[in-house]
């Protein structure tokens, strides 16, 4: 699993591919799909848990990639992470729009894309470390910790919504999230020092 993600995200961005994508080259979007389609599908399917919906959203993801390729700045992050962010965003937006849950701040795709490209935090080597660390840390998380992280990341739920979903006190949820994040951060710190 991780190897697939790493292979996709760590594949060096081909400057020529990105250039052709920005020029609206039809073959380029096919190559981008071949490289990142599986990741986008996996994320959208994981979030929506519906195959048909995931297919619809993957189509939307690549339409966005096609329409916004001119905005992509490879100096600020990899194409793979950008597409992952878009995939997560469209899927969570879909959940929010269909679930008609309580009104909450609508995080726009621009917000998420900005998060993914915030300054210089995304570099290919750091992503490799991050994913390895997350995977290693996840193995040590208990079910509750893993559950709250997945609800937050894959479903875009807030503390309060997670508490409501799991029928747990808000303080407990915050503790689970915090301890999970501490565990992952600790694993990442160790990975960085190795």
């Amino acid at each position: 699993m991780l190897s697939v993600i790493l292979a996709a995200v760590l594949s060096p961005d081909d400057p020529d591919l990105i250039a052709r994508l920005k020029e609206k080259n039809h073959e380029a979007i096919g190559e981008v799909y071949d490289r990142y389609g599986k990741l986008a599908y996996s994320v959208t399917l994981r979030i929506t848990r519906n195959q048909q919906t995931a297919e619809d959203l993957v189509q939307e993801v690549f339409l966005r990639v096609w329409n916004r390729a001119h905005k992509f700045d490879s100096s600020r992050g990899s194409l793979g992470m950008w597409i992952l962010c878009i995939a997560r965003n469209v899927a969570i937006d879909h959940l929010r729009s269909t679930a008609t849950r309580i009104a909450r701040r609508q995080s726009t795709e621009t917000d998420l894309e900005k998060l993914c490209f915030h300054d210089d935090f995304v570099s290919r080597i750091s992503i490799m470390q991050q994913m390895k660390a997350v995977r290693a840390a996840a193995a040590n998380l208990n079910a509750n910790q893993r559950s709250v992280l997945e609800l937050a990341y894959f479903e875009g739920l807030t503390h309060s919504e997670i508490a409501e979903r799991l029928n747990q006190p808000l303080g407990t949820i915050k503790t689970w999230v915090r301890t999970a994040l501490i565990s992952i951060r600790s694993e990442m710190t160790q990975a960085a020092s190795r």
């Binding site: 699993m1 991050q130 999230v177």
Partner: protein, 240 residues
């Protein structure tokens, strides 16, 4: 929310688990450019960047690729078609505008031409009526051999026709001008004409006071005409 409290929330913010109100406060604080918080956010984002690894990887159905690429191809084609339509519409608009301008100019020219022809037609009708009317009187200048010859046809409606021959040559800056010469007083302008091959037929543009006119004279004047003769009339047709 204090600065320290915000520092505890950046990972939750990056994860998307924070409450909207808290997120608004953090974003407002980040917009102020706090370097410490910017760094905290970077670290937090570094943690969450690897979270896709928490999920499983699933092969998409084979037909999805065709569907995705097909939708983009349709988008590309429709965009291209839209541009083509826009270009064609623009070209058609320009052509229509050019045609309209040409048509307008042609129409305006045609209208001018038609008005000129109508005026000429009216003038000829008056001329024929005047010349064929048995009540029309005639007057003629004294005929010296080789001298310019002038004849005037006087209608009952106080219009007149001047017919000249052996007229002197004039250049492009000159014209012939008719004068109504009263028994007493200064001549009055009665119209301009240029003639052709030393001949000319000139109809008075409007009825004139022939009753108080002793003679009709013609002189050479500047092309725009004069209010009083600037040269000696070379033809004088007495009306009495």
């Amino acid at each position: 929310m204090t600065h320290e409290e915000m520092n505890d929330l950046y990972e939750l913010y990056a994860l998307g688990a924070i409450e909207p109100e808290e997120a608004g406060e953090i974003e407002a604080h980040l917009r102020e450019g706090c370097p410490e918080c910017q760094d905290m956010l970077r670290r937090a984002l570094a943690v969450t960047a690897g979270f896709p690894a928490l999920g499983g990887i699933v092969d998409p159905p084979p037909h999805l690729r065709d569907r995705v690429i097909g939708s983009i191809e349709r988008l590309r084609t429709s965009a291209s078609t839209a541009w083509r339509i826009a270009y064609v519409a623009l070209a058609a608009s320009i052509a229509l505008l050019a045609w309209s301008l040409t048509s307008y100019r042609t129409l305006r020219s045609d209208r001018t031409q038609l008005a000129r022809l109508e005026s000429e037609h009216t003038r000829l009708e008056i001329l024929i009526q005047l010349l064929t009317n048995p009540e029309t009187r005639t007057a003629q200048a004294s005929t010296n051999e080789n001298a310019p010859l002038g004849r005037v046809f006087l209608g009952r409606d106080n219009r007149f026709v001047f017919v000249g021959s052996r007229l002197p040559a004039i250049n492009a800056t000159q014209t012939f001008e008719l004068w109504l010469v009263p028994a007493k007083g200064a001549p009055r302008p009665a119209g301009l004409f240029r003639g052709e091959d030393s001949h000319a037929v000139c109809l008075s543009s409007a009825p004139v006071d022939l009753e108080n006119t002793a003679a009709i004279a013609v002189s050479i004047e500047p092309r725009s005409g004069s209010n009083a003769p600037t040269t000696t009339p070379f033809v004088i047709v007495p009306l009495s």
